[in-house]
């Protein structure tokens, strides 16, 4: 587009294209979708966290009227799901082990709630009753439920290969000499608990077989490409499946793994009838990937002046019973373990360990929350040792453009942390007065979170943009929208470039047969990747339309502007785009384009030292909070919260604010009340009566500060904000509470009792 032109849509706040429908409850979610003659699927799940399965008897269930089929591991053509290590990722894995997970348990269960058998029946009632009639004979086996225990010699083995799933390392400089240079050395251990995504809609999908033999499924998923896992399991060709990502009631990484796809696909394939399978809430909590629990030991050295000299971190992640995405989550933790700080000498040893807990996997932040909690807790503790304020100590050490991060790579853009910090504190205002009965505290956390995949993965996205003869436009791009507004951003980008109002641009579903491949809606990559693909495709279409209009108007191409559906000349002549498009079609000019965007590519990092370019870019942010603690009860109330991020360019400022506020809301639950409690393998709260989420009444007013440095790699200089918005919240609140009570808290959630005990004992 002409560089002089001001944005008409980008950077202005507008309602998302699908907002009205969502508010009115009109979208058909996968769990709502029905087909004629549809069967109801259910999974039978293990009653023990660690056991041998001696026998499975399905005969009584099969005889029940209404039951159409009962499947066990014997009915799965390939019963092992392999943990995909896409692109060149596998090369970075020490030992390159390929982790597997059975689709239906075969002789062994490794966590409570593992799927053992599947039922399809004419009614939900018959399906439920059939589950009760399946006889499973178990022999309980010793299990291991703590990641540190699991690493010990002689611990019960979760898998034959042993309990160590993955290790990552960072070796930068020489920590030995770094600690020698230090005047103060401090070591502390931080704990992060298991968390559930707790989205409104549980996992679900509907599958059927089309007359041409294609297996079709509508599933709430963040990853259309998971159709390949279904074809592997069923051993059918990859072009014989069509996966459509349905609207979703939340993603947050919980739909990044395969959820119901293979289960519902198996049932539809066997019965040749439509089947719906939706997880109940307890199934969702018991049997889909949780946020990994971590133990992080941090040892830091600094000079009296406040300059950090060395960091040594030992990180242990509880993978639960299967690998899922834990190896890659652990990489994110490892690569971001130093936070947004300049540290010359770094040593990180990170391990992911199998236990007989529910398997853990992707969760908004993908290992970054755990790292941030440890490095930001430790920055506060270290500042205390040095007698500096947490803010001053951070400001001494913030990364600047050109500084090397722990992987030895020099930052190519300016982190803006000084500005974010001063604006956030300024917004928090002067310190409050003391109030009787209350301890008031303030805390901050800064963070550095990658957006986009690891730089060596050859990530790409494709999108198609095309005009219709009535002057409307269509975007086709298989980018699932879990509610973050990804679809709307793509519509806005196309509308901006094509000079159309947003109402005249539509986006089709993320459908593996109908839309070009866009890659996963994960890793805060869709705006960056698919945004660039749509931008490229739309610019190509624009060029063609401008050429056509220039010819029709007898003007130079450089003088044509596309505004509100018209082509304009500087002297005020105009043509409707519908006319331009019709004429273009008639004269053989293209009015559509398929474009591919490739992320910049770097060499694979060195697996022994973690040196190299880990990610293409990062999003930086700072949060500050003021909290009050009830002196007699330990109850925490967050009084004020400020979240400040450099988003590069806000495509839709109100959507950015929504992401920023949503991140804080989610982090509030992590900091104050949420935890999946597993007691010796048995989950004590697989329901929302005892897994509590913050309500509007628990959420403070959240002030958002949006910086637009224009440095991002996304369209118009945008960075990603989906995951980053959450990352520092847990640390911010816990640091503020620690400040209030004068005792450092190193684990959460900060239930009143935990804070109460810390206040009384003087330690946590």
């Amino acid at each position: 587009m002409p560089p002089s032109q001001e944005f008409r849509i980008i950077g202005r706040s507008w309602p998302r294209h699908d907002a009205r429908e969502k508010v009115l409850g009109r979208p058909i979610y996968a769990s709502d979708f029905t087909m004629p003659g549809m069967l109801h699927g259910r999974a039978l799940r293990s009653l023990y966290p660690s056991a041998r399965i001696l026998s499975i008897d399905t005969s009584e269930a099969e005889k029940l009227p209404g039951v159409v089929c009962v499947l066990t591991h014997k009915d799965v053509p390939k019963n092992e799901m392999e943990m995909a290590l896409p692109g060149r990722m596998a090369e970075a894995t020490a030992g390159a082990q390929m982790a597997t997970q059975p689709i239906l348990a075969d002789g062994r269960v490794r966590f409570l709630g593992e799927a053992i058998a599947l039922v399809a029946a004419e009614s939900p009632e018959a399906a439920a009753q059939a589950l009760d009639l399946i006889r499973v004979e178990y022999e309980e086996l010793p299990g291991v439920y703590d990641s540190l225990e699991a690493m010990k010699q002689g611990a019960p083995k979760v898998h034959e290969s042993g309990n160590i799933l993955q290790r990552w390392h960072v070796r930068k400089g020489d920590v030995g000499s770094g600690f020698e240079e230090a005047d103060v050395i401090l070591e502390r251990t931080y704990h992060v608990q298991l968390l559930d995504h707790a989205y409104m809609e549980t996992e679900g999908g509907v599958a059927w077989v089309d007359p041409d033999g294609t297996l079709v499924m509508k599933v709430g998923t963040q990853v259309v490409e998971h159709y390949t896992d279904v074809t592997e399991a069923l051993q059918i060709p990859r072009n014989k499946i069509r996966l459509i990502a349905a609207p979703m009631g939340g993603g947050f990484g919980g739909r990044e793994d395969v959820t119901v796809e293979i289960l519902v696909g198996l049932l539809a394939w066997h019965t040749r009838r439509p089947v719906r399978l939706v997880y109940s809430r307890d199934e969702s909590i018991l049997a889909h990937g949780k946020r990994n629990a971590y133990v992080l030991r941090y040892k830091m050295g600094a000079k009296r002046s406040g300059e950090i000299t060395a960091l040594e971190a030992e990180v242990v992640s509880d993978s639960g019973a299967y690998a899922a995405l834990t190896p890659w989550i652990l990489y994110y933790t490892t690569a971001t373990a130093t936070g947004p700080y300049r540290i010359p000498d770094v040593l990180v040893d990170a391990s992911a360990v199998y236990t007989n807990n529910t398997f853990a996997s992707a969760f908004r932040g993908f290992g970054s929350v755990q790292a941030c909690f440890a490095y930001e807790g430790h920055m506060d503790a270290m500042a205390g040792e040095l007698g500096m304020s947490p803010r001053e100590f951070r400001e001494r050490n913030y990364l600047k453009k050109g500084d090397t991060i722990s992987s030895g790579w020099a930052l190519e853009s300016e982190p803006m942390l000084d500005e974010l910090t001063s604006r956030a504190w300024e917004a928090l205002g002067p310190p409050p007065k003391r109030e009787p009965g209350k301890k008031i505290g303030r805390g901050m956390a800064a963070t550095m979170v990658p957006y986009g995949r690891m730089a060596w993965t050859h990530d790409s996205s494709t999108a198609w943009v095309g005009m219709e003869a009535d002057g409307t436009a269509m975007v086709r791009c298989a980018a699932p929208d879990p509610g973050g507004g990804q679809g709307s951003s793509l519509v806005a980008i196309a509308a901006e470039v094509l000079g159309l109002p947003m109402s005249r641009v539509s986006i089709g579903p993320a459908d593996s047969h109908m839309a070009p491949r866009a890659g996963t809606t994960t890793a805060t990559r869709q705006l960056f990747m698919s945004g660039n693909a749509v931008l490229k495709a739309a610019r190509e279409v624009r060029e063609s339309l401008v050429a056509q209009a220039a010819q029709m108007l007898g003007a130079r191409e450089a003088d044509i502007e596309l505004v509100e559906g018209d082509a304009l000349t500087p002297d005020g002549r105009r043509l409707g785009l519908a006319q331009v498009v019709r004429e273009a079609i008639a004269s053989g000019r293209p009015v559509e384009s398929l474009a591919k965007y490739d992320a910049p590519v770097a060499d694979t990092i060195d697996p022994d030292t973690g040196q190299g370019k880990p990610f293409n870019d990062f999003t930086f942010g700072v949060q500050v909070a003021e909290v009050e603690v009830d002196e007699e009860t330990g109850q925490v109330r967050v009084r004020r919260f400020v979240t400040a991020f450099d988003v590069g360019k806000a495509i839709n400022p109100s959507a950015v604010e929504g992401q920023l506020q949503g991140g804080v809301g989610m982090g509030l639950g992590d900091a104050l009340m949420e935890e999946v409690v597993i007691d010796e393998g048995f989950t004590r709260n697989p329901h929302l009566m005892d897994y509590k989420l913050p309500t509007t009444l628990d959420t403070p007013d959240i002030e958002t500060i949006v910086l637009e440095s224009g440095q991002g790699l996304g369209p118009f200089g945008a960075k990603g904000i989906g995951e980053p918005a959450l990352i520092p919240t847990r640390a911010t609140i816990v640091n503020a509470v620690s400040d209030a009570i004068g005792v450092q808290l190193r684990e959460a959630p900060l239930t009143p009792e935990r804070v109460y005990r810390a206040m009384r004992s003087g330690t946590d």
């Binding site: 439920a128 109940s280 007699e632 329901h687 989420l693 628990d698 239930t751 009792e753």
Partner: protein
């Protein structure tokens, strides 16, 4: 965790409901708003073969005031109790307590009778009704029976409801002029959580009545704490002693909200706050 199969009955009269419940004995359970029953059935704690819905019985959801006091039909939804002009003006303690239950959605569906029949220790209304010296009217195969609320809660999720009986009405006597009150609830997790401890107090010239929730197998009257206050009244020292007495006489459990020890400490704190903050 889907609902197990059951037969749903929808009687249109109280007699019909009572005879259905009597006929099916232990296989039957009455249901009103379902906010407690349905989760209990989903978790498999209750597996009644017959569920008798009381919602179609007319006349059980009325609030009426007389010289003796207030009568609230058992089927009255919580939001109507909390929002009733009469309740708010004359029994503000009750309005506050009932209006504190969970969320608007739960209060719209849940009923006062259902809340009490469930006999949950961490009920919001129960301590308030204990402090207000309410009574409940039950009807069953043997006829009507009035039970003072102080004797109604018998154990962990156990109320004095005999086979075939249905709770039909809650009666609350008038509060003497000049009485003061307080209702405080302490939720440890989210605001819609049930209370870890809740305290209801009615103070009249006769004495102080204290209801406690969440800290014993049932909601209780804190009789020993009341006795401590009988002589000296609400002096700071007596309040401290009453708070200690209440902590002694409660019998808390440990659960995911907090340990028994913490609950005991919190009884002290919240009773002290309730007694010093009377309205």
């Amino acid at each position: 965790m889907r609902l197990p199969p059951f037969q749903l009955h929808r009687p249109e009269t109280l007699q019909e409901a009572v005879s259905l419940l009597a006929q099916h004995g232990e296989e039957a359970r009455p249901i009103a708003g379902g906010t407690a029953m349905v989760p209990m059935m989903r978790f498999g704690f209750l597996r009644p073969e017959h569920v008798v819905s009381l919602k179609g019985i007319p006349g059980l959801d009325e609030i009426s005031e007389s010289d003796d006091g207030l009568r609230i039909g058992a089927l009255t939804p919580l939001y109507r109790v909390a929002g009733s002009a009469v309740v708010r003006a004359q029994w503000p303690l009750l309005a506050r307590a009932v209006g504190s239950v969970a969320t608007p959605a739960i209060r719209n569906s849940g009923t006062l009778g259902g809340n009490l029949s469930y006999a949950e220790a961490a009920s919001d209304p129960a301590p308030a009704l204990l402090a207000l010296e309410a009574s409940v009217l039950l009807t069953g195969p043997e006829g009507d029976r009035t039970v003072p609320i102080t004797g109604f809660f018998q154990g962990f999720y156990e109320a004095d409801i005999r086979p075939g009986e249905v709770l039909v009405e809650v009666s609350i006597p008038r509060i003497p002029a000049g009485a003061r009150w307080s209702y405080l609830r302490f939720a440890a997790r989210s605001r819609e959580d049930k209370p870890l401890v809740n305290v209801a107090v009615v103070a009249t010239s006769e004495g102080v009545r204290i209801g406690l929730g969440g800290v014993s197998p049932t909601a209780i009257r804190a009789r020993r704490a009341e006795a401590v206050l009988q002589g000296p009244g609400l002096t700071p020292q007596a309040i401290d002693e009453a708070a200690d007495a209440a902590a002694e006489e409660c019998d808390p459990l440990s659960d995911l909200m907090g340990t028994a020890e913490y609950r005991q400490d919190m009884v002290r704190v919240w009773l002290r706050r309730a007694l010093t903050g009377l309205q």
